[in-house]
Amino acid sequence: MNGLPDRMEEFLAGFFGNIKFVEKALLGLEGSYVELLTILSLGLLAVLPTIVPERRRQTWRRLNQIFGIVIFIYVVFTCLGVFGMVRNFFRGMNEIGRENIIALYYCSVPVTILVTSMLFGPAFCGWICPTGALQEFAGMLTRKWTLRRKLRGYPFGWGFLLTAGLVGVVFLLWVWRLAVTRTFFVEDSTIYWSEVLVLLLFILAFRMREWDLKLRRIRILSFWIIVLGALAGIRITSPVHLGFAKVYDPASLLSTVVVVVGALTIPNVWCRYLCPWRCAISWAARKSVRFIESDVSKCTKCGKCFEGCNVDAVKDGKINTEECHFCMKCVDACPTNVFTIKDDWRRK
């Protein structure tokens, strides 16, 4: 019984064991640990969406996402996944005025993300975020099936229920394995997020049509849990955390697997319902300079934009800015050019 999971874990542990290119976050100011490369690379990644050519934009985007994964896994040190980012931001703010370099070290990732979101729109979600990219790549496998479900208005489907059940089984088996092999401790709380995701999948199996948008508000709850956790000094690892840190963390591995498997049934399921950063980013990007303007009068209701959107943020030429990931798929898909990307510095 121990054979396969053991080997799997060992394989993954070997895979994720130590992956950073540099053993410190590169030396910068005064030979200290500084995430300067983060500012550099994230800044570059954020600027890329603004200058890529319109032709084959989605290919560029995928490249950007792959580059984002590489950057986050191999270079960035302070971002321990979405939760760690919130926590580190708080830490960094606390260091301002005392250990300024450490403040920069911890704040650079979240500040860069928020600042680029405020200026260039929520492009981080659609173009850079490694968690989102992972889910998107996984979701490509079941694209046809999920699209059919979406176009039929999320009917109750045995297939979906079955897949949700599969996720649940993966979850429970792994939890059982964690529970019997080792004692459980605080950082593993990411298990709860996976659990919530599994429960969500089950709930959504029956009520997706009615509750999809409503349940997205759980993100806010998730955000506040993490913020309060940061205030209380509780470490909670995120899914995909194991990819960013040097530490192989089975609980994080579990939640990553659940998130990825979940993304097979609902594209970007983590972003939709649980991602705490999404709140902050959509807040920051509300009045961003760069945004997608839609001219509904041109819309022929062909449904192409709705088909393409991974997070169901657009329908019939109207964009729900709170959900939009700025992937610009709708812009590229629209046959009548309903959408235009605008830079408006006067936007208030």
Binding site: M93, A103, W345, R346
Partner: protein, 458 residues
Amino acid sequence: MPRSSARTVIPLFILAAHAALHAMLGIGGWLRPFELLSLLLLGANLVIALCLWKGSWDLPSGTCTMLLIAGHGLIGQRLAPDSLTSGAMLTVNILIVYVGVKIYEHLSRLHFAAFAGSYLILFYIFLTRMQNAEALFLLFLMGLAATARDFKLLTYFWAIVLSFTACQPYAWETTFSSFLILTALFSIRDSNWNPASVIFLVGGMALLLFVLLPVIVLMAGEDPRNVVAMLKSESVRDALRLTAVTATISTVILAAFCVPLAYALSRLDFKGKSLLLALADLPIIVPQSAAGLAILKVFGKQQYLGGIIFDAFGIRFDGSVFGICLAQIFVAMPFILKGSLAAFESVPVALEGAARTLGASSFSAFKRVALPLAMKGVVAAAILAWARAAGEFGAVLFVAPYPETAPIAVYNLFNSVGLVQTAPLVTTILLFSLAMFLALQILVKLAPGLTRREGSGA
């Protein structure tokens, strides 16, 4: 696409200048010949030149960026010791230049002035006034870039900057409170406002802040671990439990008597009613210590009434839970009575009349019409009374100093070990009270049936 001559000339010129600069520096021995960063800078300039030439970047920001890159080629490396720092600075500077050009082009001169001024002040604060703050400068510059185009955001940004530089020991607290004030100020701007009331508001808020700051500092400044450690202590938990239990019992007793009384007072009119209402406020007027003494004088075990009760039921009030409840009931009574009275008075009598004609007895009408409609006010009053009862110190101290309730525990601890060691306990109690209070408030908000009062016939 027709290209203007500037599009062709300027990039080439700057590119040439950059190359010449590097050649000069290289020949003069100022720069290592094939230093990575300088090659990168040249490469970046080439890319931007191409972008400019192709027309996919607008002229002013492109030119400024190229100049900036050239400038970094010249002096950036002298300033920053390593290529990475230099590169990060360059990135942030490009962002600033880009934002600055855009603000200059698209927004008013006032915006640009605010942006440039902010940059200079940040420069002054972080690079001139503070030591070792280059990192912070980078951090805050990014913030400035994001917020500069909106005065409201810029104000918030400056609130953060000033809180974290000028008000350092209380940075979070100041941020929090200034955000509160700013949000309030910004949100009134739209409604019809006049200078007088805004000034009054600001003044009042300043005082409110003065009241709130100690509380906020106490709560934010304490290490959560100390609080947890406090919560783990048996005596503290006992005190908190006792406080919660006695306050709840007192509130229940008060509710059982005062809510019907308030209903009666709101519905009946009789001689001496106003006198009765005035007397009901007496516990507020009487100093707590005096109230405690008064209770002791009547209900003390040695006293007449207290003696009778003790003989008859074996209940003693001084130094027991009953005494605590008694003192709490005494002080909290006006709050629940007045609150419920106001709530019941807001319920139209006609509704009860309607209920009567529909077959409800007067008790039933109270239960099914008056009480549900007044419930929000009644519960708010009960919560207030609960808070008052839980926080009661003076009267309880006289009547029943033991078993310790939370306020008395604070007093005793302060007397024995002093300020520093008492602080975590106070924070604990504060958080506990706040949590209970919020929980009750949320409960009232969320409780079904109580939320649908919008537009009642009041």
